[in-house]
């Protein structure tokens, strides 16, 4: 069982017999009051999002989902298509099932497909992914609102903050668990 102190973004829980993933998480504690654990949860089967607040006395059943290693093939109008390289079986995941993970998919990437009742309902990505910066304006010195950061977009359409020295066309490494910039990659 998980306790409240285990709760964090990306953790998967069983709620009313269905797997849910924490899409957003924050800890809150009004002055001198009790700790409240505020979650935005996504039902991994229906994709529906809802808010739930837990107190520290509560505990949670982990959603232990079977994983199957598959390769990302392509995206079409039905969704994102993956293939098991041993059985050649294919499975399609919807946009909602992938969430932000869709921004970190690269052709032929190997991922873990999460299964519930033999159906693919989500993926686990490698911890780091390398993507090319497709758009980023030159940094304007004096624009200190963001410190030394500036906004950038990578080839998959994902937007993030990068250091001022990162230029368009460069390849950067992103931590898929946090969605944050890690470093520039030579190349």
């Amino acid at each position: 069982m998980y306790s409240c102190s285990d709760l964090k973004k990306g953790l998967k829980l069983m709620i009313d017999g269905e797997p849910h993933v924490i899409a957003q998480f924050d800890f809150s504690k009004p002055g001198k009051g009790q700790a409240l654990y505020r979650c935005k949860l996504r039902n991994m089967i229906t994709g529906s999002l809802f808010d739930r607040t837990y107190r520290s006395s509560e505990s949670f059943e982990p959603a232990s989902l079977e994983e199957n290693k598959m390769q990302f093939l392509y995206q079409d109008e039905t969704g994102y298509v993956f293939m098991d390289n041993r059985t050649f079986e294919q499975t399609t995941l919807t946009d909602e099932a992938l969430g932000d993970a869709k921004y970190f998919l690269i052709d032929n990437m190997e991922v873990e497909i999460l299964l519930f009742n033999e159906r693919g309902i989500g993926i686990t990505l490698p911890n780091f992914v390398e993507l090319r910066v497709s758009k980023s304006d030159p940094w304007v010195k004096g624009d200190t609102a963001q410190g030394n950061n500036k906004p950038a977009e990578v080839e998959t359409g994902y937007n993030l903050q990068v250091p001022s020295f990162v230029d368009e066309g460069q390849i950067i490494r992103i931590d898929t668990r946090t969605g944050e910039y890690v470093t520039r990659v030579k190349g």
């Binding site: 102190s5 009004p30 009051g33 009790q34 700790a35 006395s57 250091p163 890690v182």
Partner: protein, 302 residues
């Protein structure tokens, strides 16, 4: 490659250092004595919802409050301290388990005097007279709004304060329904908390259901907690006993009572004290919603 998550904070850390210097100058100019009290102590004030970090047989302080009040009781009339505090299991976008607290205390004053002092401090820290939070400009030059907890429940809560206390939804209503509305045109003092939620505060003479306690909110962020201090040792002992009883009911480990503090409370005259989170203040002055942006290292970075 440089660690960018550290390198990117350079401007913020420079700003942090400057702000802390301004705070020191503010209090020294007003004849407050800066003190340093031990971070590792035999007993904190027992409070049901605050978990102290054990350190050997003792504890890391959850606040310098008890040592500050012992000095006050020994005739130090105006004191301030900027120190580290530890509270277990508190980590979120506005919480760090190890954080920096500014506390100041003065004798012959009450929580209303502290409200005025907060207004002056904020104006000294943001001389442009406003703070920008999420694109909204919060005016610091006008008198700050004062809203009683009871009024806040009427205005934003789903029930009255009395009802919320009875059904156990007080904290949830404060955190989810009330806090997000507070302190957007001017900062806001939320004041007069139910007496059972202020173990170290004096009860209001005209309405003993509530204690003379306030919290300062800016842009929905809770920044400071203040009291007219409880100076009656007998009542203080009773309040601590109640907190300890509540801890036992919640199956929490017992805490030792701060004996010397209770003994010396007899010599404490009327006074008021306040704790202000420096990291949260910096979040407001720097313009970030993530406390990790204003410290060099969060626990995950170690």
């Amino acid at each position: 490659m440089t660690n960018w998550s550290l390198a990117r904070k350079k401007d913020n850390l420079h700003k942090r250092a400057r702000i802390v210097q301004t705070i020191r100058a503010f209090f020294i100019d007003r004849d407050f004595l800066e003190v340093e009290t031990p971070l590792r102590i035999p007993a904190n004030a027992p409070e049901i919802h605050i978990l102290a970090e054990p350190s050997g047989d003792w504890f890391l302080q959850t606040s310098p409050e008890l040592c500050m009040k012992r000095l006050l009781a020994a005739n130090y009339p105006r004191l301030f301290q900027i120190s580290r505090c530890w509270r277990q299991q508190e980590r979120g976008s506005r919480h760090l388990p190890e954080f920096t607290m500014l506390e100041w205390y003065q004798t012959a004053s009450d929580y209303l005097d502290l409200m005025n002092c907060c207004e002056e401090l904020l104006r000294a820290l943001a001389p442009e007279g406003r703070i920008l939070v999420q694109g909204r400009s919060i005016n610091l030059t006008a008198p700050f709004k004062r809203l009683s907890v009871e009024q806040a429940f009427c205005q934003y809560g789903s029930s009255s304060m009395e009802q919320a206390l009875a059904d156990g939804s007080f904290d949830e209503q404060i955190a989810i329904q009330i806090e997000p509305h507070l302190g957007w045109t001017t900062p806001c003092f939320l004041y007069d908390y139910p007496a059972e939620m202020a173990a170290l505060a004096r009860k209001k003479p005209s309405d003993p259901r509530v204690a003379e306690r306030f919290e300062l909110y800016i842009g929905g962020l809770e920044l400071a907690n203040a009291f007219s201090e409880l100076t009656d040792p007998t009542e203080q002992r009773l309040r601590f006993d109640e907190e300890e009883k509540a801890r036992r009911t919640a199956a929490l480990p017992p805490y030792p009572l701060p004996g010397k503090f209770l003994d010396e409370l007899t010599y404490l005259s009327d006074c008021a004290g306040i704790a202000l989170g420096i990291d949260r203040l910096l979040m407001l002055l720097i313009g970030t919603g993530d406390i990790r942006d204003v410290v060099a290292f969060a626990p995950e970075d170690l």
